[in-house]
């Protein structure tokens, strides 16, 4: 890594999820230099955790693969994982950005042969799978991870583990003395594609997340349905692995609620319809209950909704869930008032899926630069300052809106050096 690299018109993209990847690639393919930094150990962000996209039900890794190839083939993009922005100084057209790379404890000699993981005796919760299983403390972030390089969680390594991991590597790639590195880049503009986190479901006390394994989030069920997930693609109740005979989807779990997220998270209705498909494929006779306020499946998504609503074993209840009760058999009862008939409903199910909303990552992380944000933590672009927000850092949005707005962000970034 060279210090103070960057040519005139270079662009820094913060965040390597689908929005950041898109913004970086669209910028670089015009011809500008790009620095793409990602906080975690691999690129792909939230979408890498999804089993399928709606409405095509195609795997996100398909588009990611193309994007990763575009990166590999493009010398205009320099990528940095485990890297965050520490500070920003300067002005539009000439920003000096200090970046910090956390130690991976695996250097570039790594061939991803996997020997370290085989040798490692220590296990950690698998964050990629929301803790539903464990991985070794020397691990590949996930199966399709790019870059294909292992990472070590050093503080989870036992003394014996450290020895085993070091000893297993034939390529001298394990470096447990690796230190945090700081470097600066000089760029004309900054695209913020810092994305979102699932809203913490424990904050809705009435929904009892964390008190029963039968209550999961919509992101957890994506991992369960994924072939690379903790259950190899099988949707079962965590803990006792009960097959699903009945399941409830609890919409607006946090969204459209002034005590939590005041906005609509945009994707949860479609995500639920998609997840109904996962359930139905595995359980042709399972009962599905969807508790909703409105079904927000506009435009081309209506056909998708229509097909799911034709499901004879699916019941749609317009009503916000008031409470979830834990049942002795490991299941739960979902309680709501039907807004149309005014009747109170108590529905016992094997599993409840909370359609938790999107919270902008920076709302929790804080901001390392002079950025304007709204009260929810979404970034407001300031084109004069060449501070450009995109994707779910800007607003709650589906993937197609994110990739589209990231393409737009690329142009706004390029304009800065051509003013």
């Amino acid at each position: 890594m060279t210090d103070e690299q960057g040519t005139s018109g270079a662009v820094l993209v913060v965040g390597g999820g689908i929005s950041g990847l898109t913004a970086a690639l669209e910028t670089a393919e015009v011809g500008n230099d790009v620095f793409l930094v990602e906080k975690s150990a691999s690129f792909g962000g939230r979408v890498a955790q999804l089993n399928q996209y709606f409405p095509k039900l195609c795997p996100p890794s398909c588009g990611l693969e193309i994007n990763f190839r575009r990166i590999r083939d493009n010398r205009k993009i320099r990528t940095y994982t485990m890297t965050t922005v520490k500070s920003v100084s300067g002005t539009a057209g000439n920003y000096h950005v200090t970046l910090e790379t956390a130690p991976r404890y695996v250097n570039s000699n790594c061939t991803a042969c996997g020997d370290c993981a085989v040798a490692c005796p220590d296990e950690i919760d698998n964050d990629f799978n929301f803790g539903m299983n464990t991985s070794k403390a020397a691990y590949l972030p996930h199966e399709m991870a790019f870059p294909r390089r292992y990472v070590i969680k050093k503080d989870a390594l036992s003394a014996a583990g450290a020895e085993a991991v070091k000893g297993s590597c034939k390529y001298n790639a394990v470096d447990l003395d690796m230190q945090t590195e700081t470097f600066t880049v000089n760029v004309a503009s900054i695209i913020w594609a810092t994305g979102w986190v699932p809203y913490d479901a424990k904050k809705m006390e009435n929904l009892k997340f964390g008190q029963s394994k039968a209550i999961v989030t919509n992101m957890m069920i994506e991992r369960m349905a994924a072939p690379s997930g903790p259950t190899g693609g099988k949707i079962v109740r965590p803990g006792d692995e009960k097959e699903i005979e009945s399941i409830a989807f609890v919409q607006c779990a946090g969204s459209r609620d002034e005590n939590h997220l005041e906005y609509c998270s945009h994707i949860c209705c479609m995500a639920t319809f998609k997840q109904m498909t996962y359930v139905r494929e595995q359980y042709p006779d399972a009962k599905i209950y969807v508790f909703y306020i409105d079904l927000r499946t506009p435009g081309k998504y209506e056909k998708f909704r229509e097909a799911r609503m034709a499901d004879k074993n699916a019941v749609f209840i317009k009503g916000k869930v008031a409470d979830i009760i834990l049942e002795a058999d490991g299941g739960v009862s979902v309680i709501a008032e039907n807004a149309v008939t005014a009747e109170k409903i108590t529905q016992k199910v094997d599993m409840a899926v909370l359609a938790t909303g999107m919270q902008p990552s920076l709302a929790l992380q804080g901001v390392p630069a002079d950025l304007q944000m709204d009260t929810s933590g979404f970034i407001i672009s300031d084109f004069d300052k060449a501070m450009i927000a995109t994707g779910c850092a800007k607003k709650a949005a589906d993937v197609v809106t994110c990739t589209q707005s990231s393409t737009a962000a690329a142009l706004k970034a390029i304009q800065v050096s051509r003013r």
């Binding site: 890794s61 193309i66 690379s228 927000r296 709204d374 393409t407 142009l411």
Partner: protein
């Protein structure tokens, strides 16, 4: 280029343990007559230094037998003027060896099997290295970097302004005499900033001024595009006065059969009086790329008879109501109907997206603003206010003058000067009847491409975009990850023609379309492809002397890149081309190829596979694999150590569309025992990155079955499968089942001939 070769085999990651590298080296130095070196870790600093030293000494074509070409790409990139060919010995040989089931002994020849597989991959890689050439980028003689924006509404104005702000010249056309489009008629626009509750000034007027005062933008009002010829970097635009017919209007597509009928006088020529699509208009204006922003038209809502539009007075559309609101005062009691389906259907009006929900909220505010005791009733099935628009909705809920309920709107009737609206199953738990002055129907926004071609290309494949019925007529992309992709390179749609959008969304969309137009122009300038093979400097070359004018390439190109002359000889337009190779796959004369990917190159690789005779444990099955999805999935299978039969040989292809059936025939006549294609899903939810490639390949494979039968071979020796990139747990099974099937059939009877 005078090629100087050297092969390098890596011993790392299990390759050295699994294989006899000395023997493998001998295959390269002996059979392939190529120098060959081994190293314990080729991707490490020492390993690369070994290669780099040789490169400095004159080696310019490097064969690397190591890991998958999908990893360590930069490590084995020795510069643009050097060639690197990879043999995937790790993921697809050593790591995908079939392990014996628990308690079973490995096959007595297992070690040889693996060695034979690796030898074949080295043979294929060396052959490829010998056959491949460095790309020579296609350069237009003259490139024009001006961007044409079609449509002077909000989206078109934005695209023009944003492209100009990046330094590009723009020509902006608008059919009407005034710029501004539909937005000129809006009284207010939706909130675009916190606290997301207040209507904002319509931004259209300031946008028009900005565009008018930008000297990089040439404005043509009252004009439209008659036809577009040429290709990115060199489009020729024939303009005309709006609404008139000219000889330069874009000709309709005429199929071969239709042309025949026209000639026999049995069909009227739809292009009577028009110049042929390949004619050159001397007055055409050159541009480099096009942004299509022709917008939308209000949908007709008169078919919903129970709602009375067109029959009952004061039943109007949202667009008509907005005009009223802009020009004066709106009535005091107004019902807004969002969903026309009564009790049977809870969908919104078609072509709405979520825009009409927000329009109703906006227009309800006008009712209250204009009338002290105004009452607006919004009757919806699903209030669609995504993201921050939820706060706009909430603001309306707090407005005493706005009354909203879910309900089934059953009928609108005239009743003594007023209108009666009957609504069932409301949230009040009852059926209600409203008496109002006016009823507003939330009519949708139909894209111009629903009714006309809009883009008016003078292309062999016709003037419009293909298959828009998949998107209800919108000029939209089918790719979630790649929202601006169309099947016409260098043309990018935005705004209402692509999706029913709010103004805020349209501004973003238009900015993105402008970026894609700029990117296309710059890629053409560098002589490289745009998405998805962005940066690829190769392009298809045609050996025209042997062309038989069969027209398959012109018909099958998913991107309409090929025109043709009177005789049917293809006229390539390399800057329209996406480099998928579908033309190469289509050509029965095998005259189309790329520098680094052609019939001879892949054919020679196939022939490099060693075919053992009379050994049922050593059948050979060719699997041609889409490099975008299936190939990574096979790598993943290797990473997971899922065993794949040792009888299989993989060759990656750019897209299944590029697979020429000559390869399959060659393989079987060379004695291989079976052939399989592995590619992407096709159909309405296609995942093929080149749209049509996998579908076309499957059709070709159906036909090759017949050819095989005439040769006396079982058609089942060939198969095509659709897989996704995540099918890595299924693919070994699919392949191994196919192998079992071939084993059952027995060896290819042609073997040894």
């Amino acid at each position: 280029m005078d090629k100087k070769y050297c092969a390098y085999i890596c011993a790392g990651c299990g390759i050295g343990e699994g294989l006899d590298l000395e023997a493998l080296t001998e295959v390269v130095t002996g059979e392939m007559s190529m120098e060959c070196k081994t190293h314990e870790c080729l991707c490490g600093a020492d390993g690369r230094a070994l290669i780099e030293k040789d490169v400095a000494g004159g080696i310019n074509t490097v064969v690397v037998g190591a890991c998958s070409p999908r990893v360590m790409t930069q490590e084995f990139d020795f510069g643009k003027d050097k060639i690197t060919v990879r043999a995937n010995l790790r993921e697809q040989v050593v790591w995908s060896e079939v392990k014996p089931a628990a308690g079973e002994e490995p096959h007595s020849d297992a070690v040889e099997f693996l060695q034979e597989t690796a030898s074949d991959y080295m043979r294929m890689a060396c052959t490829r290295a010998k056959k491949t050439e460095l790309p020579e980028a296609f350069q237009l003689e003259v490139i024009n970097k001006t961007i044409l924006v079609m449509g002077g509404g909000l989206a078109g104005l934005t695209a023009a302004k944003e492209a100009a702000a990046a330094g590009y010249k723009v020509i902006l056309t608008e059919k009407e005499e005034k710029l501004g489009g539909k937005a000129l008629g809006w009284r207010k626009s939706f909130p675009t900033k916190a606290p997301w509750t207040d209507l904002e000034e319509n931004p259209i007027h300031s946008l028009i001024s900005a565009v008018q005062s930008d000297n990089r933008i040439t404005i043509k009002t009252g004009m439209e595009v008659a036809r577009i010829t040429g290709s990115p970097g060199d489009f020729g635009i024939s303009f005309k006065a709006a609404g008139i017919k000219t000889e330069w209007d874009a000709p309709a597509k005429v199929t071969v059969d239709e042309a025949d009928l026209i000639e026999k006088g049995k069909m009227e020529n739809p292009n009577e009086g028009l110049n042929k699509y390949t004619a050159i208009n001397p007055d055409a204006v050159k541009v480099g790329a096009v942004v299509l922003a022709t917008g939308w038209k209000p949908a007709d809502v008169s078919q919903y008879e129970h709602l009375g539009y067109g029959k009952v007075k004061n039943v109007v559309t949202n667009a008509e109501f907005e005009k009223m609101a802009k020009e004066g005062k709106v009535p005091a009691n107004v019902a807004f109907i969002q969903s026309p389906g009564g009790k049977d259907d809870d969908k919104d009006f078609p072509y709405c997206n979520s825009v009409t929900s927000m329009v109703a909220l906006k227009q309800a505010q006008y009712v209250c603003e204009d009338n002290a005791a105004g009452k607006a009733y919004i009757l919806y099935q699903h209030m669609r206010t995504p993201g921050h628009m939820e706060l706009f909705y909430k603001q309306a809920q707090n407005n005493d003058g706005i009354f909203m309920t879910k309900g089934n709107v059953m009928k609108v009737e005239e009743n003594g000067g007023a209108l009666t609206v009957s609504v069932e199953d409301t949230l009040l738990g009852e059926n209600i009847t409203l008496s109002v002055d006016m009823v507003v129907l939330a009519a949708g926004m139909e894209p111009t491409t629903l009714h006309e071609k809009s883009i008016n290309l003078a292309y062999r494949q016709g003037p419009g975009f293909n298959d828009l019925e998949l998107f209800d007529g919108y000029a939209d992309s089918h790719f979630i990850c790649f929202p601006y992709e169309t099947r016409r390179t260098g043309v990018y749609a935005c705004g209402g023609v692509r999706k029913a959008e709010t103004m805020e969304e349209a501004v973003d969309d238009a900015t993105g379309a402008a970026l894609k137009a700029i990117q296309c122009i710059e890629s053409v300038d560098r002589g490289v492809s745009v998405h998805p093979r962005s940066g690829d400097a190769t392009y298809p070359e045609f050996f025209m002397q042997r062309c038989t004018q069969c027209k398959r390439c012109t018909e099958e190109c998913p991107f309409g890149a090929l025109d043709d002359d009177e005789k049917g000889t293809p006229l390539p337009n390399p800057t329209r081309c996406r480099r998928c190779g579908t033309c190469m796959g289509a050509c029965p004369e095998r005259i189309i190829g790329f520098k680094d990917y052609n019939i001879d190159l892949i054919g020679s690789m196939i022939k490099a596979i060693e075919v053992p005779e009379d050994d049922e444990d050593r059948l050979r099955i060719l699997v041609l694999v889409c490099e975008n999805d299936a190939y990574p999935a096979i790598d993943m299978a290797g990473m997971k150590r899922n065993g794949i039969s040792h009888m299989v040989r993989f060759i990656p292809v750019r897209c299944l569309g590029s697979v020429n059936m000559a390869w399959i025939r060659d393989a079987l006549s060379a004695g291989l025992d079976g052939a399989m294609l592995l590619g992407c899903t096709y159909g309405d939810d296609y995942q093929c990155h080149f749209v049509k490639g996998s579908e076309i390949a499957n059709k070709r494979m159906e036909n090759i079955g017949d050819t095989l039968s005439t040769l006396g071979l079982e058609p089942e020796r060939c198969a095509a499968n659709q897989v996704a990139i995540t099918d890595y747990d299924k693919i070994p099974q699919i392949i191994n089942d196919f192998v079992d099937q071939i084993v059952e059939m027995g060896p290819n009877p042609f073997k040894g001939f």
